[in-house]
């Protein structure tokens, strides 16, 4: 798989024509997101103060990107993403969803993995992080998977490593570059000795 082009300072991005939905029960959180995406050039922004309001809006019109807080009373961000993927209207079923969370509770880790969102962003929100994720989602070419238990972008993409330009935070992240071997190959004798039964005194 070829690595995605890195987002450079001189890279041109056009967010002017995007229809973006922002969802957060905290009005200041909505203000923050709105200022960030407006700065990127987005002109059409729909602000929703709850997951339920977002669901109503998603049934009415088409969107190109949804940024939603994960933890909200009522329908939360995980449930909103899951609803979209499983039974959302055709025009929005595959829309990129970026979940934003201040903290992921232990009990929410599996929900975050299984809800079908494209990416999870940790608060506090910074323009750089948000734009990197939007860029990454726009460039990605993940297969959409639909099964009884999951609907959303294929979650098995770790072999690609972290998004370009990022150091990666998970211990299992692999580098995009394979690189040269750092130690000599094992000889046949060494390989055989690994499989040779040995006596063990108990």
């Amino acid at each position: 798989m070829t690595p995605r082009p890195k987002m450079l300072p001189s890279t041109k991005v056009n967010l002017e024509k995007l229809d973006v939905m922002l969802v957060d029960d905290n009005s200041q959180g909505l203000d923050i997101l709105a200022q960030v995406v407006s700065g990127f050039g987005v002109r059409s922004i729909v602000r929703c103060a709850s997951g339920d309001e977002a669901r109503t809006q998603l049934l009415k019109g088409a969107y190109d990107l949804v940024l939603t807080d994960a933890q909200m009373p009522g329908l939360d961000g995980y449930e909103l993403a899951s609803w979209l993927r499983h039974s959302g209207p055709d025009q929005n079923r595959f829309v990129p969803v970026l979940l934003i969370t201040a903290h992921t509770r232990h009990s929410d880790v599996a929900r975050a993995r299984d809800c079908g969102a494209n990416y999870l962003i940790a608060k506090p929100v910074t323009p750089k992080t948000v734009l990197e994720r939007i860029y990454w989602v726009a460039r990605e070419d993940r297969i959409f998977v639909e099964s009884d238990s999951y609907a959303g972008p294929d979650r098995r993409f770790r072999r690609e490593g972290p998004p370009p330009g990022m150091a990666g935070r998970r211990s299992g992240d692999l580098s995009v570059a394979v690189g040269h071997a750092e130690t000599p190959n094992l000889s046949q004798d060494q390989i055989d000795s690994l499989m040779k039964p040995t006596k063990v005194s108990i």
């Binding site: 991005v13 056009n14 297969i143 998977v145």
Partner: protein, 157 residues
């Protein structure tokens, strides 16, 4: 159980983002930072008010705090992270993260750990109130709380 279906879906976002127009990334980031800075003062005020609210409702001097749920305090601390867009109090965000970990574990075990809660509230107060606190002192506080989190995790808490 039906078999999983795998297919490509159209990427509208890509088509629009790279149509040749728009802004350079550095320009888009600068514009967003400039717009975000207009909220910095309001966000700082929110953070200060939340710390006062936390101390009043959950500090050592508050009455009846044990009747509350760790989730109530968790929500207040998470709101500090929501509003931490400026770096006027370095270390505050890190403390809130370890605090949320602590409260999440208290919620799961349905049991408060008041000494740990008190030390986090004291750290929040100290870091937000004293802007002149040197970076090394802030780092020591953050490291100390991270160590507390590790110990609790090792002890199954």
């Amino acid at each position: 159980m039906s078999p999983a279906r795998r297919y490509h879906v159209p990427n509208r976002l890509r088509a629009m983002l790279f149509d040749g127009g728009g802004k350079q990334v550095n320009e888009a980031l600068a514009d967003a930072e400039a717009r975000l800075s207009t909220l910095a003062e309001a966000c700082d005020t929110t953070v200060r008010n939340l710390i006062v609210e936390i101390e009043a409702a959950f500090g050592p001097a508050s009455r009846g705090r044990e009747r509350s749920s760790p989730r109530d305090l968790y929500d207040l601390v998470a709101r500090i992270i929501d509003s931490s867009i400026s770096q006027t109090s370095p270390g505050l965000f890190e403390i809130c993260t370890t605090f949320c970990d602590l409260l999440d574990s208290c919620q799961e075990q349905n049991r408060w750990d008041w000494p740990a809660v008190d030390v986090h509230i004291a750290a929040l107060r100290l870091l937000s109130a004293d802007a002149s606190l040197p970076a090394t002192a802030r780092l020591r506080i953050v490291s100390g709380l991270a160590q507390l989190r590790r110990r609790r995790a090792e002890a199954g808490g």
